[in-house]
């Protein structure tokens, strides 16, 4: 059974169609790249896959649950999403942010602290999120996904803002996910990188699959 299967998915916001008739299947262990011009609907499609945005028409199954049923809630803890904005709490320190998340997903505080060390933020752990640089916040976001070990990994331009050392965190995240048998979707404008690191590439254009 595929981890994710979308058939004829359309999303409208008000009068405006954002996605039109997307068909897509994602098998266990498969990682695909998602590219396309600005405004073509990559982020919007990722939101549908993350079960956070309900399609206007079409049907989908994610991790065995149909998208339009309330039971979809059950699979959410197995979905890992890195969005444009990591959504940290500005007043909390980096450590507090990661520990809160660890508590919610049932990991220990020690695991959280160790992960923060692994992404290279040990010395900055007591800095508030709003006093951390853009790249530092992105690293916390990656630490969160490394802790979570999801079955469906969704990365929206996760490379952006990371320095050359921490870019490998993203690659490692994808590799681990693959070996765990999870599926992955990597959104990026860097075609060369996608070709290298993903199994196949899907190009969106104006809300439709172009390739």
């Amino acid at each position: 059974m595929p981890i994710l299967a979308l058939t004829g998915i359309s999303v409208h916001i008000g009068s405006l169609p954002i996605l039109a008739g997307i068909d897509l299947e994602l098998a266990a262990g498969e990682t695909i790249g998602l590219a396309g011009p600005n405004g073509s609907g990559k982020t919007s499609l990722l939101m549908v896959m993350a079960t956070l945005s309900r399609p206007t028409s079409g049907s989908g199954v994610v991790l065995g649950e149909p998208l339009d049923q309330p039971s979809i809630r059950k699979v959410r803890p197995q979905i890992g999403l890195s969005a444009h904005d990591p959504g940290l709490y500005p007043e909390l320190t980096l450590k507090q942010n990661l520990r809160l998340f660890a508590t919610l997903i049932g990991r220990s505080q020690e695991q959280a602290d160790s992960m923060l060390r692994q992404v290279g933020l040990e010395a900055a752990r007591d800095r508030r999120a709003d006093q951390s640089s853009n790249g530092m916040q992105r690293r916390v976001d990656l630490a969160r996904l490394l802790l979570l070990e999801p079955m469906l990994l969704l990365l929206d331009e996760a490379h952006a803002g990371l320095d050359s050392h921490s870019e490998m965190l993203v690659d490692e995240l994808v590799a681990r996910n693959r070996s765990r048998g999870g599926a992955g979707v990597v959104v990026s404008h860097d075609h060369a990188r996608l070709r290298e690191r993903t199994d196949r590439i899907i190009i969106l254009d104006a809300g439709r699959v172009a390739v």
């Binding site: 409208h12 916001i13 008000g14 009068s15 405006l16 169609p17 954002i18 996605l19 039109a20 396309g36 011009p37 600005n38 405004g39 073509s40 609907g41 309900r54 206007t56 969106l204 254009d205 104006a206 809300g207 439709r208």
Partner: protein
């Protein structure tokens, strides 16, 4: 052609109602002021009906998730606000000659009406603030539900307070009405109901048409973004 039957019917009954209301004999005590009765009471009645329908639409939306229920709830709330305003306005205008004041804080019904008015203004403001129709339907259905539970409590608490206090309450209670007046009133009540239904039907139809127009095959959002092409300076 069937589309125009309801509005015509509404117009006709309203016309007859208006004619009857203006030609019945003036009230023994209040004179011509009593004629406000024919607008005030039906408006108040429709206000309640409209908000009842909004609550019903909200609950049905939460249960069935069909946009039809959201259109019903929204249309009815808009019309309800208008009739509530009419009730407040005519009540206040009537109060001045009858009670000597526009507003009397001693009556629970007045305060509750005004608060209900605001609750539904808030409801409409929430709708206006939310752009996406589905998100809008969800949010307003939840608020519609909160309002259904809370508005009766508002009425109940205001009433409890005032009745326990035995204030100088002047409750609106009409003098005995003549049969002619009752007949005029019943016609007006009917007219208001028909007008409400006609407005609601056309409002819902309009909303549906908007949505249909929106659903027409049109270029996707992304088509509006093209590759940049700089002109030489």
């Amino acid at each position: 052609m069937r589309r125009s039957i309801l509005p015509l019917l509404a117009l006709a009954t309203a016309g007859i109602g208006f004619w009857l209301a203006s030609t019945t004999a003036p009230d023994a005590v209040q004179g011509d002021y009593a004629r406000i009765f024919h607008v005030h009471v039906p408006s108040s009645w429709i206000a309640f009906v409209a908000f009842g329908i909004t609550a019903f639409g909200s609950l049905m939306w939460l249960w069935r998730r069909h946009q039809r229920w959201d259109r019903l709830a929204a249309g009815s709330a808009e019309i309800g606000v208008i009739f509530t305003a009419a009730s407040l306005l005519t009540g206040a205008l009537w109060g001045k000659p009858v009670w000597g004041t526009f507003w009397d804080w001693g009556d629970a019904r007045l305060a509750s009406t005004a608060l209900m008015f605001f609750v539904y203004l808030g409801y409409l403001a929430l709708r206006r603030a939310t752009l996406d129709p589905v998100a809008r339907a969800k949010r307003s259905a939840v608020l519609g539900m909160v309002a259904v539970v809370q508005v009766p409590l508002v009425y109940f608490s205001v009433n409890l307070w005032r009745s326990l206090h035995q204030t100088q309450t002047i409750r609106p209670d009409g003098a005995s009405m003549g049969s002619e007046m009752i007949r005029a009133f019943l016609v007006n009540l009917l007219a208001f109901n028909v007008v409400y239904v006609a407005l609601l039907v056309s409002r819902v139809r309009l909303a549906k048409e908007w949505e249909r127009r929106d659903a027409r095959e049109m270029a996707t959002a992304g088509a509006a973004v093209t590759a940049p092409r700089l002109e030489p300076t």
